[in-house]
């Protein structure tokens, strides 16, 4: 690893001004669970490392039943995994965090760092996309907010400007009669996904008819992708075998993965269909009972 100057701003404002001052030469570190690997490999060689891990103002979880959940960017994965509020209202986040890397990584790695790393092979981001989460970015010129799906631009690249910091993740309340589930295929259970899929289904009140659905895939393209074509054909229909088969096929066609040392493109595309089928079959086999806090 090449040497760098280690800077510890005390506020977000100070961090943004340091980023402005050292544009192009500085890198932000949060938990560093991905960044330090890239620095050891000399793929990234910042002259200044700006540490946000100690910014207490970014380490918070807040929730209310109207505005939903707010996650400070420095919240660790482990805090998400073990939060009773998140388990109650956003079960999918607790579920996916259990196998998002090893417990050691979850104890130190942050949600904000994970998002800004821009790894298309992410457990978390497909869930944020189907939940409609917004990301709040703070820069030296002020704040802006965008949908999590619009944040990524390419492999490990995001729309974050050089003086900007991701400060908060805002997750709206799930619509009534909804369920969200994540499924991944990986080598070790806690490895990053070879292929991952997350779906959120909103049922018609008291029926097994799909009122709305969102489907997002990870690790099959340069950025996490929605499968809108499949979502469109599901709305207003009863979720059953033939429809699931069709949706799986569309998702599989949408996937444009690259082969790696373990798995070919073709295999990964087939696994997309398998995951989609597992997810929807799981949801319908549990039926409406699976929905937490259902009000029928």
């Amino acid at each position: 690893m090449r040497s760098f100057e280690y800077l510890t701003p005390k506020t977000v404002e100070e961090a943004c001004s340091l980023l402005s001052q050292h544009q192009g030469e500085a890198k932000v570190i949060a938990g560093g669970q991905s960044l330090l690997i890239l620095m050891k490999q000399r793929l990234i060689e910042p002259s200044y490392l700006i540490d946000l891990k100690h910014l207490v103002e970014l380490d918070y979880l807040s929730f209310d039943e109207k505005s939903g959940l707010k996650i400070g960017a420095m919240v660790t994965h482990r805090s998400i995994e073990t939060s009773p509020i998140i388990k109650k209202y956003y079960g999918v986040l607790s579920q996916l965090e259990k196998t998002l890397a090893s417990v050691q990584i979850r104890n130190y790695g942050t949600v904000g760092g994970n998002i800004c790393h821009g790894d298309p092979s992410s457990d978390l981001i497909p869930a944020l996309i189907v939940l409609g989460a917004k990301l709040k970015l703070t820069g030296s010129k002020g704040n802006r907010s965008l949908l999590s799906g619009d944040f990524f631009s390419d492999y490990y690249e995001t729309v974050l400007q050089q003086d900007e910091i991701l400060t908060e993740i805002e997750v709206p309340i799930m619509p009534p009669n909804s369920i969200a589930v994540y499924e991944k295929f990986s080598v070790r259970r806690t490895d990053s996904p070879v292929v991952g899929a997350c779906v959120m289904v909103t049922f018609e009140l008291g029926k097994d008819v799909c009122k709305d659905v969102k489907i997002a895939l990870s690790a099959v393209a340069p950025i996490p992708v929605r499968v809108k074509k499949a979502e469109d054909i599901m709305r207003g229909k009863k979720i059953e075998g033939k429809l699931i088969d069709e949706v799986g096929a569309i998702a599989s066609e949408t996937a444009k993965p690259i082969a790696d040392i373990h798995f070919s493109e073709e295999y990964k595309c087939k696994m997309v269909k398998v995951l989609i089928e597992r997810l929807f079959n799981g949801i319908i086999s549990q039926g409406l009972r699976a929905i937490p806090h259902q009000k029928f």
Binding site: R2, S3, I37, K40, T99, Q104, I105, T190
Partner: protein
């Protein structure tokens, strides 16, 4: 290669003062900001119980406890953990008395070459502190970030269950 690199940083020996609390003792050190906690533990403090395996967060051999939570010391800069309580394998047990998890490893025969053992034991220490009665499945998930290349997982899991039973007595 170093043309666009600030002059004052071209020297690799730019060091900073740092106080670390390890196994209850404070250590004042002069280290480079790029030193990982794992490097400081082994190279500066000669606490060689913490192993350097993959050096990229995959193998778990460098696991230590940070305020009681298991972390991988190769993926944390020493500069980031000032004011935190660090526990290494040397800090477990007291004098001649081993920690019940260490004893369970010995009695179960959960060691072959021993390289993964400190990381395994500290990961399980954190698990049992949080969850005194883990199922076999929970133990497996907890150690999924720790590799054992002697394929000794079965006995390690047995040791974890035995230790949890002893700790509950």
């Amino acid at each position: 290669l170093f043309e666009d690199y600030p002059l004052h940083l071209r020297e690799s020996n730019m060091k900073r003062g740092l106080r670390l609390n390890i196994n209850g003792d404070n250590f004042d050190l002069l280290i480079e900001p790029k030193s990982t906690l794992q490097e400081v533990l082994r190279n500066e403090l000669k606490l060689t119980g913490t192993k350097r395996g993959c050096n990229s967060g995959s193998c778990g051999a460098c696991t230590v406890l940070l305020d009681g939570k298991a972390v991988k010391s190769c993926l944390i800069l020493a500069a980031q953990v000032e004011d935190k309580k660090i526990t290494t394998i040397e800090g477990l047990g007291k004098g001649e008395f081993l920690d019940p998890i260490q004893e369970a490893f010995i009695q179960t025969g959960a060691i072959q070459c021993g390289f993964c053992t400190p990381g395994m034991i500290l990961t399980l220490k954190a698990l049992l502190n949080e969850n005194p009665e883990p199922t076999e499945e929970q133990v497996k998930l907890a150690i999924s970030g720790n590799l054992c290349r002697c394929t000794g997982y079965v006995k390690i899991i047995d040791a974890a269950i035995a230790a949890s039973e002893r700790l509950r007595e």
